[in-house]
């Protein structure tokens, strides 16, 4: 799946440059337009789309670890929860400006993820899955703990006020938060995309695909894995912090193991080891359970379960994998047309000697 990027890069040079450029420009225009549309929606639609953006950041974090790094985390909801609580506690107990709480939440989760990632380095996939699963199950109980109730509000959780719109901008608070989330997401996605295309990304993927080879060329596999874990937790924690601002509430039961499983569903549906997959996954986990909820209380998790199993068999690289395949097919079609029109004139089929 990573080699695909190379193939495309090499083969693309020979392809019809105009068609390629047109497609990338169209993609960028479509993305910008899609991001602007919600600003004209109803307040609830704006709220929902903000959550999609936030989920996308969280999925980006998990995908970095699980898709690119090959380390399975079944407990990333815990980092989402810690990020959300960091923001809520900072605002509620210490009156920290809300924008300043985002990097704080990121740093807390970075440290936590790194520390949790250190022992995880020695574990193979299954054991790491077990340890992170335990983390995801345990977090709500820790958040309810009486000893830290003064800060966390115990079972009650913490309610927050909606931040005011600055500079007298003509936006509602919901629209302003949507813009904030979008700006943070744009920055983090650009960062992740560039990092994963560069040397660091190669190192992370190399450690996933062949730890022995990676360590024999001098890569510190343990440090790489722990750092990936930390950065992944940081991204998911920032998403959690944004969610606390948008939802205006944090409570222990918002961050159960079901959240962690939703995130797993998101990266599997969107596409493992794919930056754009995070967006598709976020759309899926935001809208599909809502639709299913009308059928029965059990339906959302039934959908999740079936989708997880079916995805593994039918679309192992998720939606973005399917799109990539469609795109490759489209280019192949363009190439075929192109080469026919170019080559049919000058090179006439030579007659075979009789």
């Amino acid at each position: 799946m990573v080699a695909g990027a190379f193939d495309r890069g090499i083969a693309g040079a020979q392809r019809d440059g105009v068609a390629r450029r047109a497609l990338s420009v169209a993609t960028v225009v479509a993305i910008v337009a899609a991001c602007a549309i919600p600003l004209w929606g109803s307040p609830y639609q704006v709220f929902q789309m903000t959550l999609v953006v936030i989920d996308a950041i969280a999925l980006l974090g998990l995908n970095l670890l699980t898709g690119y790094g090959g380390q399975i985390s079944l407990g990333h909801g815990a980092f989402f929860g810690v990020g959300a609580y960091t923001t809520a506690v900072l605002i509620h107990s210490w009156n920290v400006p809300y924008l300043l709480t985002l990097p704080c939440a990121g740093l807390v989760c970075l440290a936590l993820g790194f520390v949790f990632g250190l022992p995880a380095v020695r574990l193979d996939g299954l054991h790491l899955a077990l340890a992170t699963f335990a983390l995801g199950v345990v977090l709500p109980q820790v958040l309810k703990y009486k000893g830290i109730e003064a800060w966390t509000g115990g079972v009650q959780g913490i309610s927050l006020e909606k931040p005011a719109v600055p500079f007298g901008l003509p936006l509602s608070p919901d629209q302003w938060l949507y813009c904030v989330a979008l700006a943070v997401a744009a920055g983090l996605f650009a960062l992740a995309r560039n990092v994963m295309r560069g040397a660091t990304g190669r190192v992370i993927v190399g450690v996933r695909d062949s730890p022995v080879a990676a360590s024999s060329v001098g890569i510190d596999t343990a440090l790489t894995k722990a750092a990936t874990f930390g950065v992944s937790a940081m991204l998911t924690g920032i998403a959690g912090a944004l969610s606390a601002l948008v939802v205006q509430f944090v409570g222990p039961d918002s961050f159960t193991i079901f959240l962690s499983i939703s995130l797993l569903v998101g990266i599997v549906v969107g596409g493992l080891a794919s930056i754009s997959g995070a967006v598709f996954g976020a759309l899926f986990i935001q809208f599909v359970p809502n639709l299913a909820d009308d059928v029965s209380k059990a339906a959302p998790s039934a959908v999740y379960g079936v989708v997880l199993i079916v995805s593994v068999y039918l679309m192992p690289y998720g939606v973005s994998g399917l799109l990539r395949k469609a795109k490759a097919r489209a280019f192949a079609w363009i190439d075929a047309r192109h080469s026919r029109s170019v080559t049919s004139q000058p090179t006439k089929p030579t007659k075979q000697g009789s």
């Binding site: 699980t66 090959g70 399975i72 079944l74 022992p119 020695r122 574990l123 193979d124 996939g125 299954l126 054991h127 899955a129 077990l130 340890a131 699963f133 335990a134 983390l135 199950v137 345990v138 109980q141 820790v142 309810k144 703990y145 009486k146 022995v212 193991i257 499983i261 797993l264 599997v268 493992l272 029965s296 209380k297 059990a298 339906a299 959302p300 998790s301 039934a302 999740y304 379960g305 079936v306 989708v307 997880l308 199993i309 995805s311 593994v312 068999y313 192992p316």
Partner: protein
């Protein structure tokens, strides 16, 4: 002192449940090298079917036997339909399939039986046996049933041909295939046995924690901890680990950290075992060929 003894015995009863579930995990791990994340939800479905049978008028032990048989069949079918097609996939895909199975089974149970808490009958008398003050009849019964089941399993693996064949497959699937053993069929048998053991565990713990779709989540975490503590590939380890975790959980909950942080014991135990001694108390250290 009396309080302490009471906690220890209650812990042993819970530990018996964890031991059974951990044993089911070990069973599947030995034959397939996968950790069955859906083990708890399998047991949940079994427990619900036992409840439905009892509600329909079946006597307790009839319901018990029918449920164990049904669960065995369910384990075989799930192995064949869901797990086997993924058996050659990378670890990540397999874990995803297991999580999908876990979520799907849980929602099926919730869909059919609802999310309200149901009480589950105990087959044992309400008064403590022999007029003692330390241990209730149900707790003693749970321990007895678990030990009985372990005895049966020991006899099965040690003294029957089928048990020997299953051990051979667990030890070396390839060589087993070469001497004519139908390995796939044995994998199905392993899954069936694991599901049946889980069913017994579920039926035994339901009167203690009450029956609802989230019943197994905490229980399974302790079972994971128990399996890891004993060594994920060691049946004896699973049993010993189960009892240790059960007693430890109860004592920590009662005297050290309070009941509200009890699950944390499992997390800390899992992380500590994985860091200090990943092969557990009785497990074989794994050596990977480079």
């Amino acid at each position: 002192m009396e309080g302490l003894l009471h906690q220890v015995f209650a812990g042993l009863a819970n530990g018996a449940i964890y031991a059974s579930l951990a044993l089911a995990l070990v069973m599947i791990y030995r034959v397939t090298h996968f950790v069955n994340f859906a083990q708890g939800e399998l047991a949940l479905c079994s427990t619900y079917s036992a409840w439905a049978l009892i509600e329909a008028g079946a006597s307790y032990w009839v319901a018990f036997v029918v449920t164990v048989a049904l669960s065995f069949a369910m384990g075989v079918v799930i192995e064949r339909v869901v797990i086997r097609p993924a058996s050659r996939a990378p670890a990540l895909s397999v874990v995803i399939v297991f999580i999908g199975l876990m979520v799907a089974l849980n929602s099926v149970a919730g869909w059919i039986f609802g999310y309200s808490t149901l009480s589950f009958p105990s087959p044992f008398p309400a008064e403590p046996p022999f007029g003692n003050h330390y241990i209730g009849s149900h707790e003693l019964g749970v321990i007895a049933v678990t030990l009985g089941m372990l005895g049966l399993l020991y006899v099965f693996f040690r003294f029957t041909t089928l048990g020997l064949v299953l051990r051979a497959v667990a030890d070396n699937a390839e060589s087993s295939r070469l001497v004519g053993i139908r390995v796939e069929r044995m994998l199905g048998l392993g899954w069936g046995l694991a599901a049946a053991i889980g069913a017994v565990a579920g039926i035994m713990i339901a009167p203690i924690v009450f029956l609802d779709p989230s019943m197994m989540s905490g229980v399974m975490l302790y079972a994971f901890a128990a399996a890891l503590l004993g060594g994920i590939d060691s049946p004896i380890g699973a049993v010993v680990g189960g009892f240790i975790v059960g007693v430890l959980e109860n004592l920590m909950g009662a005297y050290v950290i309070g009941t509200e942080l009890k699950l944390t014991v499992a997390l800390v135990l899992i992380v500590v075992v994985l860091v200090v001694k990943p092969s557990g108390l009785f497990g074989q250290p794994v050596a990977a060929r480079v």
